[in-house]
């Protein structure tokens, strides 16, 4: 019997196919994934792997996409960018999942990066909690992207994941510099260690993913989309690790890293933008808007990239909540399809992005599907029209 390579969360069917015309058969499988309750299809993995190495790029892409919907992953999607195919093909052909290549450096509170390696693959936990949290957080992020989206690390080609902890002294931030992650310890007045929040780690690494895909300009609406995408995937990474559904997740970003005297629960709330904190040490109340009517025009924060991101954040939450289950089952797939959509430009507006999520929901599930309708409704609810 052929193994089942696709499964649904509602129901599925086992079928045996003869393969008189392989090419059209693969296309049929691809189309299967666009139904609300698709008839999940069966094909020998060895044949798919063979087809995935075809010189025909269309056939190769279709085979890779079908391979991605395997028995252990719901609604996963294989990679399609030409530069990433070899690494994924190697792993798929070998029948093994790729492994992360993590390196954690203790920056010893220096202001420039110090390559003082303290933990790498195969090594046990060390005494320094920040080192272990960074190591585990990178691993959880790698695992999420591979398991759900068949994405092999940040660049989808197995990029080693490097992180520096204890950057500067009392540094109140964490960032992705385009190549690696850097964590501060916080000064204990506003923030504690930034390695303490998995969604923050996922957020920063997703900046790397976005940089490799859409490269959204870090200014104004495109910058707010860049930030929102990091929040969306950072939150999903946390939810996945904690086995939380859309209903049980807290939808908070950075919960647990605010110092104890701060009046707040997190940096941001995706479910209720503008409610994460209210404290004079943070400049007052959380300024995130929940609707385009309250979009903030400002020269601060690169045009409000961490402020106006509340609007697309809420749109994602509304889609996930409407569809139920796990956020990565359908809403996450639609967002991932969108950041990989070649139509997404580096200067995209909220309206551009919203329209593409709707288009991709239609492409994957059908233009009149509940998923496409949920996307349209969510953007409409936050005042983004397209």
């Amino acid at each position: 019997m052929f193994p089942l390579i696709g499964q649904g969360h509602k129901k599925y069917y086992r079928k045996r196919y003869s393969l008189p015309d392989t090419y059209s058969y693969i296309i049929t499988i691809d189309m299967c994934t666009q139904q609300r309750n698709p008839i999940y299809c069966i094909i020998p993995p060895h044949l798919l792997r063979h087809l995935a190495q075809s010189e025909d790029p269309k056939l190769r892409e279709l085979a890779l996409r079908t391979l991605s919907v395997d028995a252990t992953v719901r609604l996963a999607r294989a990679t399609t960018s030409s530069d990433s195919v070899p690494a994924n093909l190697q792993a798929l052909a070998a029948g093994t999942a790729p492994a992360p290549k993590r390196s954690i450096y203790d920056n010893q509170h220096q202001a420039s990066l110090v390559r003082n390696l303290v933990r790498t693959e195969g090594q046990p936990p060390v005494a320094d909690q920040a080192v272990n949290q960074a190591f585990d957080g990178l691993g959880a992020t790698f695992d999420f992207y591979w398991t759900i989206f068949r994405r092999n690390s940040i660049d989808n080609a197995g990029l080693p994941m490097d992180a520096y902890v204890h950057f500067q002294t009392g540094y109140d931030n964490a960032f992705w510099d385009g190549h690696e992650m850097v964590f501060g310890d916080g000064n204990g007045i506003i923030f504690t260690e930034f390695t303490g929040a998995l969604d923050v780690i996922g957020h920063e690494l997703t900046h790397g993913v976005t940089g490799n895909e859409a490269n959204l300009k870090y200014l104004g609406q495109s910058g707010a989309l860049n930030e929102s995408i990091s929040d969306v995937f950072g939150s999903m990474i946390k939810q996945y690790a904690l086995k939380q559904t859309t209903a049980t997740a807290d939808w908070l970003i950075g919960k647990g890293i605010l110092a104890k005297d701060i009046n707040g629960v997190a940096l941001r709330s995706m479910k209720a933008p503008g409610t994460a904190y209210d404290d004079p040490k943070l400049g007052g109340k959380d300024p995130q808007p929940a609707n385009m009517a309250n979009y903030l025009q400002t020269t601060q924060d690169n045009g409000g990239v961490h402020i106006n991101s509340g609007i697309p954040n809420l749109a994602f939450y509304l889609v996930a909540a409407a569809l139920g289950g796990n956020s990565w089952d359908e809403a996450g797939v639609i967002w991932y399809d969108t950041i990989r959509d070649k139509s997404l430009t580096s200067t995209a507006t909220f309206s551009d992005f919203g329209r593409l999520t709707w288009k991709n929901a239609g492409h994957r599930y059908g233009s009149t599907s509940p998923q496409a309708q949920a996307v349209k409704d969510a953007w409409n609810q936050v005042g983004v029209v397209f």
Binding site: L113, N173, F175, I190, E204, H207, R268, L282, D301, H306
Partner: protein
């Protein structure tokens, strides 16, 4: 001579952190003024009208620091990020922040 310092960016928006600070050299002690002049020289700000460090493609949540100086008809400014290699630039930024009223 007037110096202004501000920063933007980071993992989240903190309105307090983005408030611009300014100092006037006439308000400084002789020792502080000497320190300031040394930092301006070491940062390169005194010799250039504008210093902008290269941007880092694909980065996210890095902070950008800005220092501007006005001295009569001469004005200059510079911006740099968290991984700036010249420590005098960050030291000048910190000096303005610490001495601002």
């Amino acid at each position: 001579m007037t110096l202004r310092a501000s920063k933007t960016g980071g993992l989240f928006f903190n309105a307090n952190a983005e408030v611009e600070s300014s100092i006037h050299d006439v308000d400084l002690s002789v020792a502080d003024k000497a320190t300031l002049e040394g930092l301006i020289a070491a940062s390169g700000l005194g010799q250039n009208a504008s210093i902008v460090s290269p941007t880092r493609p694909g980065s996210g949540d890095m902070r950008t620091y800005r220092v501007a100086v006005e001295d009569g008809s001469h004005s200059a400014d510079m911006s740099f990020d968290d991984l700036e290699s010249n420590p005098a630039k960050k030291a000048l930024f910190d000096f303005v922040k610490q001495h601002a009223r």
